[in-house]
């Protein structure tokens, strides 16, 4: 073990420039990985709030008695897919219209009766905000006596679903690509170092060194490269996050709510280290000793 550690650190110091460059290349790749992760993570947080804004509107038939309306509300409240029920009477619907539409007075001119229906606004539980679930709920509710029509914004449901799926897909694709890039950098560096040490390896073999004894410092060196890359990436991420949070957010408010989970730091270091080891493992494994 003493030899393996000593040999690894000696090699890192001896070939410091190639090692520093490789670690920086790994850091840059890991940075892209973090930016991708943050985009996916923050988008996930943002889209997670969208189902709360989504609602199904149930238009009730005219001339329902208060008891009949309460019966419908009770039936809805008993369902396990509904998070909230809000009843809006005809009069309230008219008031809302007047409040929200500036030209309401002109529009309503000449109309004596209240043209609005009373309706119920439903908030669905998060897991039921998908097109098929909403369609099923809507169809069920239509069967209730006293319900005239149901309405929900199909395109919003579809958009939420599409955005979530695409962002996750792109995120996973990018993370996979970057992982391959980090593995390749470590692979190439260790392979170069390996070729430079051919004579040394030949001597060790003649002295009775096993393959594992020869390979171990290279594997460790790959891990150290990844570790250094991870540490560089942590510094880069912290600097970039500070700049975004405290400089850019003043100019672009979209950055105000950006969240950086602290777990990303150990994740970066461990990922760098692991990918470095995988890269060097592949590099050494493919070479005949």
């Amino acid at each position: 073990m003493h030899y393996i550690l000593k040999s690894t650190f000696q090699s890192i110091l001896k070939e410091k420039w190639i090692n520093i460059l490789s670690a920086l290349a790994i850091a840059s790749s890991l940075l892209i990985m973090v930016v991708t992760f943050l985009l996916v993570y923050n988008f996930h947080l943002a889209t997670n709030r969208l189902p709360e804004l989504f609602s199904v509107v149930i238009y009730l038939k005219d001339n329902l008695s208060r008891e009949e309306t309460d019966e419908i509300i009770n039936q809805l409240k008993q369902r396990n897919d509904i998070a909230g029920v809000k009843y809006i009477s005809k009069a309230d619907a008219l008031d809302d219209f007047k409040k929200t539409v500036k030209t309401a007075k002109a529009i309503l001119e000449g109309i004596d009766d209240n043209p609005f229906s009373s309706y119920i606004e439903l908030k669905l539980k998060r897991e039921f905000v998908s097109r098929s679930a909403v369609e099923n709920i809507s169809a069920d509710i239509k069967k209730i006596n006293g319900v005239e029509e149901t309405y929900f914004a199909e395109r919003i449901v579809e958009t939420i679903h599409f955005l979530k799926k695409s962002v996750h897909g792109v995120g996973i694709f990018l993370l996979a690509i970057i992982s391959v890039v980090v593995i390749f950098i470590s692979y190439s560096t260790v392979k170069i170092l390996f070729y430079r040490k051919q004579e040394e390896i030949e001597i060790m073999k003649l002295l009775g060194a096993t393959n594992n004894f020869i390979k171990a410092p290279f594997i460790l060196e790959g891990g150290m490269l990844g570790l250094a890359g991870g540490l560089f990436a942590v510094i880069e991420v912290m600097i970039i996050f500070m700049v975004i949070k405290y400089q850019l957010s003043g100019m672009l408010p979209v950055f105000e709510g950006i969240v950086l989970p602290l777990l990303i730091f150990p994740f970066l270091i461990l990922t760098g280290c692991l990918l470095g080891i995988i890269g060097s493992f592949i590099a050494i494994g493919r070479l005949r000793i």
């Binding site: 001597i203 002295l207 009775g208």
Partner: protein, 217 residues
């Protein structure tokens, strides 16, 4: 200790060793001689499995060398101290580290003591922290000997141990190898310098056109 039974080796249809059969007993010291290119180094390489024979059987101690698999080769080599003609020292390691490496490979304990003891025997204790490149040829050869004897193996192979050395240094090196043999190690020396074995009573084999002929004294 070492048995060659009907061993042949050729390169590109040129026979280097032809049906060689000989035995070296434990604690013995023998010379393999012959002109440059006669197959002395090949014969040594067959012993530590750096080359494979075309036919025949080789045994070294408990190892049947000719039927070793790849994973067993390092364990054979750990039982042999090799003094290479071209030294085979690692330039970016100090003298101490070069010797220590051979002990680390063997998973030895108390490495510091073993290294300094070996360096003391070759009178290079003061060069422990030097790098091989700044040493003279004689000093490098002594480091190689120190590396070969540090692990106290029972078998020492020396390939042209005095090549390119001045006569005084060559004599000192041979004295060292003699001492190693006196202490119990089996030693095989491959050399083309007649001076090394002219007055010896030890067995001398000559390689002549692939045949191994023992000198009759």
């Amino acid at each position: 200790m070492i048995t060659f039974n009907n061993v042949s080796k050729s390169y590109n249809n040129i026979t280097v060793l032809r049906h060689i059969t000989f035995e070296v007993k434990r604690g013995e010291m023998v010379f393999i001689t012959g002109p440059t290119g006669s197959g002395k180094t090949t014969l040594l390489k067959l012993i530590y499995h750096a080359e494979k024979p075309d036919e025949g059987e080789i045994r070294v101690g408990n190892f049947k060398v000719t039927s070793l698999n790849k994973k067993e080769i390092p364990y054979l080599r750990r039982n042999i101290g090799i003094i290479f003609q071209d030294f085979k020292l690692i330039d970016n390691m100090t003298v101490f580290d070069n010797i220590a490496l051979s002990l680390q490979i063997r998973k030895a304990k108390d490495i510091n003591n073993f290294v300094y003891e070996a360096l003391k025997k070759v009178h290079l204790r003061h060069k422990a922290d030097s790098y091989p490149k700044i040493l003279s040829g004689g000093e490098q050869q002594r480091v190689v000997i120190a590396r070969a004897i540090a692990a106290k193996t029972e078998l020492i192979l020396a390939d042209e141990p005095t090549a390119n050395l001045d006569p005084n240094t060559a004599t000192a090196i041979m004295q060292l190898i003699n001492e190693i043999n006196i202490q119990g190690a089996t030693v095989i020396i491959a050399t083309h310098y007649r001076e090394l074995f002219r007055n010896t009573w030890k067995r001398v084999f000559r390689l002549d056109e692939g045949n191994l002929i023992e000198r009759v004294t």
